[in-house]
């Protein structure tokens, strides 16, 4: 496990965004926090490549709500990541929710149950809602529209365009272009 995260670090040192690199260098040498902070940095960025349906789209000036539903693996890291981030005219705020109640205003939701099963239940609660759901492969096989995974020591993500389309979200082809895999309606 330590080797895997070292390789992530190497990949990051040479090829990743300099901001993340600096962030990583500021942290103690540990694979877990680096991986987490990369994922935390990714989360608000998704907002740039997603088009919400009218009504769900954040009005100009209003914040984009990034919800952490279930248990929060990020802690302060996510708060730091969104601090000062603006997607277009919109700032980004982090909301932490225990369940899907009150999640209807979320734009992006990182879903993480205690178990894989509870994650699936949470996702079911958000089904057909105009919320971009994000899950992590480390938390089980339940998949949101975006599903983090580690491939070759690097943080990547799978995209489920079918469920996004069901929630009337359109995901930019640019994002699809860098996704590890894309599930599309055949």
């Amino acid at each position: 496990m330590a080797t895997r995260f070292a390789s992530v670090l190497r990949g990051t040192a040479t090829r990743m965004l300099p901001g993340l690199l600096l962030l990583a260098l500021a942290q103690p040498v540990s694979a877990q926090p680096l991986e987490t902070s990369v994922k935390a940095a990714f989360l608000p960025k998704f907002a740039r490549y997603v088009e919400w349906p009218p009504g769900a789209r954040p009005a100009a000036g209003t914040p984009i709500e990034l919800c952490i539903i279930g248990s929060d693996p990020f802690g302060e890291v996510i708060d730091d990541a969104v601090a000062g981030q603006r997607i277009g005219d919109n700032p980004v705020v982090v909301r932490r929710l225990a369940g899907v109640d009150g999640a209807s205003t979320c734009h992006i939701a990182f879903v993480r149950g205690r178990t894989g099963r509870s994650t699936a239940q949470l996702l079911a609660g958000l089904r057909d809602k105009p919320v971009l759901t994000v899950t992590d492969a480390r938390d089980g096989s339940a998949r949101g529209m975006v599903h983090f995974a580690i491939v070759d020591g690097r943080v990547g993500f799978h995209v489920d365009a079918v469920s996004a389309a069901r929630s009337h979200l359109s995901i930019s082809s640019r994002l699809l272009g860098i996704a590890l895999s894309v599930r599309q309606s055949s």
Partner: protein
């Protein structure tokens, strides 16, 4: 050297328009090439920028999510374009994020190290922006098409332009050359016209001079002729007058009377021969052709020729046997031979030989059978210039009074009027030959005997003859002659009188002059024949244009001066059918 100068002149005078046009064409060609080149470069830069922008757009997410592999994939997609030498994506800090380069180039590790474009390489950079924030930069360096290929393309344009310029230039030169040639031609044409005018003037002057010369020659010839005739006639008249004077003297012996009367007759005959020659050269000589044997005629002339030519000239006769008869006027034939012989004599002052030869001419399809009478001398010969003129009337090499210039003219007139021809052939110092060609006659030659018999018959003729002549003397003479022949004669002095008398008296024959005022002899004959078609009419004339040209209409003609036997023969012939008739 001359063509070169011409060319140089041609080059100098190429119309400015053509030169200007060629220069403009070349300029335009260069302009097109430069414009094309700069447009090409601009287009390449634009293309590079567009491609950089596309690349920037496609790597936005990759940069955003620090996905260098995805960025590299996007960048690698550009490798298919060989003109892209290198492509690089730099992140927001200016560090190399993804990129590729071909051999010979290096990728600057940071954005700051990108050098400004060098030479033909176009560098385009495009920002990778996210919500207006620059998160990275894409840099492309593009080499244009290889220079050789562009040059090939431009060379084609240049070739066309140069060819067009050449065509224009050549056209200009050709036009100039043509104009010069035209000008030269025009000059030459005008020079020619000028020369032609001068020539025409000269020709006109020469024609005038020739006309004057001809006139002078004619006058000279006329002088010679009249001199010659006057000389000859004076001689003859002296004899006639002298004889007449002697005859008028009383107590003349019979012997003297006969001698001087004979002299008058002989001399008058010579005078008649002279006038006959005058008519002969004018070719208005009335011919009295008879069918005869040429050899017999030549032999008959032997004595005459002997006497004419004198002792110093020997005469050779070379006569072919069995020659065809010819139909010619014997008197004219005699004159022709005599004329040639006299000329020969004059050419052989120191003596020589005259050869008279008769022979069959080569048969010729055009003129049929003919014979030749060639008379050669061994004299001094005739130069070619004179040869060309010997047959001309009035032409003579003899002094005034020595010759009339009519001798050979008579020969020519006789030969051509007889349907033949005459040729001259002479070698200076060796002698001359004059050849007369005469066509053969289909008829039998009359022998001397037959002619005599005929004369005997006519002698017996008698009858009442009406003599018509406006000339009193000639009329009286004719009356005397016819009276001598035993005819009863009635005289009339005009055609009208003759018609009146013919209506009153019984006339057996009419002997009329042709040329008379009011009514000609021919008209009279016509009027008489209206009443009595069988009435014999005999015409007589010294010379009549009309008879010479259109004939006598079948009537017998007796030419003046006539002699007793001539008129007797004519009357006898004319009245004979009546006597022989049933």
């Amino acid at each position: 050297m001359r063509p070169f100068n011409r060319l140089a002149r041609g080059w100098r005078s190429v119309p400015a328009a053509a030169g200007l046009m060629a220069a403009l064409l070349l300029l335009a060609g260069l302009g097109i090439i430069f414009q094309s080149e700069s447009a090409y470069r601009e287009q390449k830069v634009r293309e590079a920028r567009v491609q950089a922008e596309i690349l920037a757009a496609s790597v936005t997410a990759a940069l955003d999510f620090a996905d260098a592999a995805a960025a590299q994939e996007s960048v690698n997609a550009l490798r298919v374009n060989p003109q892209i030498r290198s492509a690089a994506v730099y992140d927001g800090e200016g560090a190399l994020f993804a990129g590729f380069q071909r051999s010979g180039t290096t990728l600057p590790p940071t954005l700051a190290e990108i050098l400004p474009p060098e030479g033909s390489v176009a560098v385009a950079a495009a920002p990778v922006a996210r919500d207006g924030t620059r998160i990275g930069t894409v840099s492309l360096s593009v080499v244009p098409e290889p220079l050789s290929r562009r040059l090939t393309r431009y060379a084609l344009i240049a070739l066309f332009v140069v060819m067009a310029a050449l065509v224009v230039g050549v056209l200009g030169i050709a036009h100039t050359a043509l104009r010069r040639v035209n000008r030269e031609l025009a000059e030459r044409a005008s020079a020619l016209a000028e020369a032609n005018r001068e020539l025409e003037i000269q020709i006109e002057e020469r024609a005038k001079a020739e006309e004057q010369l001809r006139q002078a020659q004619k006058m000279q010839a006329l002088g010679q002729l009249t001199g010659g005739i006057a000389h000859d006639f004076n001689n003859l008249l002296t004899v006639i007058q002298g004889s007449a004077d002697i005859l008028q003297r009383p107590n003349l012996t019979e012997e003297k009377r006969i001698r001087f009367a004979g002299a008058i007759a002989q001399t008058a005959g010579r005078a008649a021969a002279l006038t006959s020659q005058l008519l002969a050269f004018a070719r208005r000589q009335p011919l009295r052709p008879e069918v005869l044997d040429l050899n017999e005629q030549i032999l008959g002339m032997a004595d005459l020729l002997d006497r004419t030519l004198g002792e110093r000239i020997q005469i050779n006769l070379d006569l072919a046997h069995d020659l065809c008869p010819v139909e010619v006027d014997p008197t004219q034939l005699e004159s022709a031979v005599l004329n040639i012989a006299v000329n020969a004599r004059d050419a052989m002052l120191d003596g020589g030989t005259l050869t008279i030869r008769t022979t069959d001419a080569e048969q010729n399809a055009e003129r049929g059978r003919a014979l030749l009478l060639a008379i050669s001398d061994t004299g001094e010969g005739i130069d070619p210039e004179t040869q060309a003129r010997v047959f001309e009337p009035f032409f003579t090499t003899k002094g005034v009074g020595k010759g009339t210039g009519l001798g050979l003219s008579q020969v020519y007139g006789f030969a051509t009027q007889s349907g033949g021809d005459v040729f001259i052939d002479s070698v200076a110092g060796e002698g001359s030959t004059i050849t007369i060609l005469l066509p053969c006659s289909e008829r039998e030659a009359a022998t001397g005997e037959a002619a005599r018999e005929q004369q005997v018959r006519t002698c017996a003729a008698t009858g009442c003859v009406l003599v018509v002549d406006d000339n009193e003397d000639v009329g009286a003479f004719a009356e005397t002659l016819l009276g001598e022949l035993g005819h009863t004669v009635i005289r009339a002095r005009s055609g009208a009188e003759a018609l009146r008398l013919a209506a009153q008296a019984r006339i057996d024959a009419v002997f009329t002059d042709v040329v008379m005022p009011e009514m000609s002899g021919l008209e009279l004959a016509e009027r008489l024949h209206e009443q009595r078609p069988e009435l014999p009419v005999i015409l007589t004339t010294g010379f009549s244009d009309r008879i010479a040209t259109s004939g006598s209409g079948g009537l017998p003609v007796v030419y003046k001066p006539y002699r007793l036997e001539t008129i007797a023969a004519a009357l006898g012939e004319a009245m004979r059918p009546k006597e022989d008739g049933p």
